[in-house]
Symmetry: C2
Subunit: 415 residues, 2 copies
């Protein structure tokens, strides 16, 4: 069965926000065997929304719409659904109760008339209770098609998808299984990889699809298949993936579907009762940010220091200033000293450091923009590497962060 | 004139990546007076792409397509364009030269046959040179419509949009001006704001459109208008914005179109020759990451410390441990001491601190999950505030980061 996602909002079409809702919904639908045929972002305009709904009905069995359910005048999704289904708005007592509850519990003031107005919903809709907000989710069935309308606020939408929409979709539709497995590689480009695996790729059964996803020095290789026999599906994709892994053994970092590299690091450090600290110069907190985004990171992540100004590398971190003078602030020697000092200062099992020139100007380094040194200190000593990440700034930082996580994973997996 | 963006790639439709290309393209088109009618994400499937191209041609004058131009077998955009325009692939010597140049300069190995294959392009296409990669951009004109095909790799696509596509669009189409102005507010919900501004909103000329954009404790109010008389456009929107600002004076933070709040902070600190440091506990590097994402931040950002473990707040930052014992690690007292110590340690004009419980578990704090204390120390003393940001973790961190930037902007704007 196929689904289409329609996101409503001028803010998407003028580039004021990035639509992250679609990726979340697609991922969740995929897990339960629903293939997303298309994602369409349309304006806050009745004619346009009606056209998108009509087109989506032709292509898909399930149409999920987000956005346009707010209390203000620019939100017109409910009225549009009324027109689409030849329906009228009626007050729903459950929704009204929820609105009053949200106001008394969280907002702590009396709802305004426009807030109470949100209890007016299309009479043909089954209501999905929004525990985090005042805009109700709605489920419509019409001619064997299902239409779902959800608020555009990500955390309200996410809760409705997980708690209400997915269980209902599972009940309502007969779905195949969809299985993906993704291999993360680094060190070779996609065409080089294709060269290595070409005869295997040509012999791949037509039921299994291979995709190459290059990004910032990494290439991810995704195998996908769908069908009604889940055991067969998993076995056939896994056996092909084993072959692929063997062919690419020297550049394979690991699998990415179940756990990200950050989560793998988190698991290993927790299992080993090991701790980590960071001395981030050119990455400016980006590595710490990704680590602390994971719940439970406080168990193994003790903290970090961002010695952005060169003098702070000596003043706070205690790197010998003559070392900086001798080798330049962006050097393997300074990166290693930073990692060593950081490990001592924070008293952790491992410490990672970054120092580099993110650009656009050269700062205090002698090297080209894009030069980054990364070091990791641990019980087995210090490893360091120097990279040329090119430009622009954003890309240099992101590549350094990726590489740092790869070095951490490699180092902590040594035992 | 209208544009449509089509992004091609199964990785978008299975939720493996978030499509950020569309937002970038939409924003850039908007600046030059091109309204994006729709964004459509489709699968790596010839029939589907052809259908999307056919539909887009009905709605828009300019169709920009990204993705599917790689050297591997899953990339089929060029073949699809050939079918759409009844065209064939021919070798282009300029593209071939660029591929060889990219390989010899950056990749430093001989191109493989599949790489050289990327020089085969539809004969009817005008080539847009991709200086960062081997996949050429393409510009097609057909029946007064323009189709542009770009690689999906963001930095390659961005350079092609800025250097080639936009100048060509400006030359090729007669476009109106589009003008947006966005007011950032915090402290009131969208319905409360609507209540305050309702009579003004009703009297707003129909040529000016108002949108409410609520997000994590902030509401952005965007006024938009388009037309061929730019001076009139700017004057009429600005004068309405002045009225709006006056009505919402107590909750207005500033405008957001030209500069983000991070950029505003950057400008003020540079102008005042002031410096900033950070002691981030619960935000775990997120504030530093946003500051250092801006080029030139090393001028005013000296660095930061992430004392994630409670003991580090005393050991490295020097907060009195009895203070932590007495008031709990998440308290205004500790936040203030952290900011004060950070300012001293990093020797900066301002220092900001965060301490809180991001969740899902309570950690070392006594308070509810979502409690965050933020303090800022500066030449005029210390300001601090305690917040309840609810849950989940991701939202708590993001809200704390937003609030921190607002507090910094407020503090440094005092003079």
């Amino acid at each position: 069965m196929l689904a289409e996602i329609i996101t409503i909002g001028d803010e998407i079409l003028i580039g004021q926000i990035v639509d992250t809702n679609s990726a979340f919904i697609s991922k969740e639908l995929n897990k339960i065997g629903v293939q997303v045929y298309q994602i369409t972002s349309v304006q806050d305009d009745k004619t346009h929304i009606l056209k998108a709904l009509t087109n989506a009905k032709e292509n898909a069995d399930l149409i999920i719409v987000t956005g346009g359910l707010g209390p203000t005048k620019d939100d017109i999704t409910k009225q549009t659904f009324c027109e689409f289904f030849d329906d009228t708005l009626v007050e729903n007592t459950e929704v009204l109760k929820n609105i009053k509850h949200i106001f008394s519990t969280y907002i702590k003031r009396e709802p305004l008339p426009s807030n109470l107005q949100q209890a007016m919903v299309p009479s043909k809709a089954t209501i999905l209770n929004n525990e985090h907000g005042t805009a109700a989710g709605m489920w419509f069935e019409s001619n064997h098609k299902v239409f779902v309308s959800l608020p555009g606020v990500p955390y309200e939408m996410k809760a409705l998808i997980s708690n209400d929409v997915l269980p209902r979709v599972i009940n309502h539709f007969n779905r195949p299984f969809i299985y993906h497995k993704t291999l993360l590689t680094y060190g070779k480009g996609e065409s080089e990889i294709q060269e290595i695996i070409t005869s295997w790729e040509e012999a791949l059964p037509s039921s299994i699809k291979l995709a190459y996803l290059p990004s910032l020095g990494r290439v991810r290789l995704r195998l996908s298949s769908k069908g009604y026999d889940n055991d067969f599906l998993v076995a056939s994709v896994d056996s092909q993936m084993d072959k692929l892994y063997t062919m690419l053994d020297d550049i394979a970092v690991g699998y990415e579907d179940e756990t990200t590299i950050q989560e793998q690091i988190s698991e290993i450090l927790q299992k080993e009762n090991a701790t980590l600290s960071l001395a981030e110069s050119c990455t400016g907190g980006s590595i710490a940010q990704e680590i602390t985004a994971i719940a439970g990171s406080s168990v193994y992540f003790k903290g970090g220091i961002i010695p952005y100004a060169t003098t702070l590398k000596s003043d706070i971190l205690g790197v010998n200033s003559s070392l900086i003078k001798e080798h330049s602030v962006v050097s393997l020697e300074v990166a290693e000293a930073m990692a060593k000092q950081c490990r001592k200062l924070f008293d952790t099992t491992y410490a990672l450091s970054t120092t580099g020139i993110a650009g656009p100007t050269k700062g205090d380094g002698f090297d080209e923009v894009g030069t980054v040194c990364i070091a990791i200190a641990g019980p087995q000593g210090i490893t360091s590497e120097k990279f040329s990440f090119g430009k622009p700034r954003e890309r240099v930082i992101k590549k350094a962060v990726n590489k740092a996580f790869e070095m951490v994973l490699k180092e902590i997996s040594k035992n």
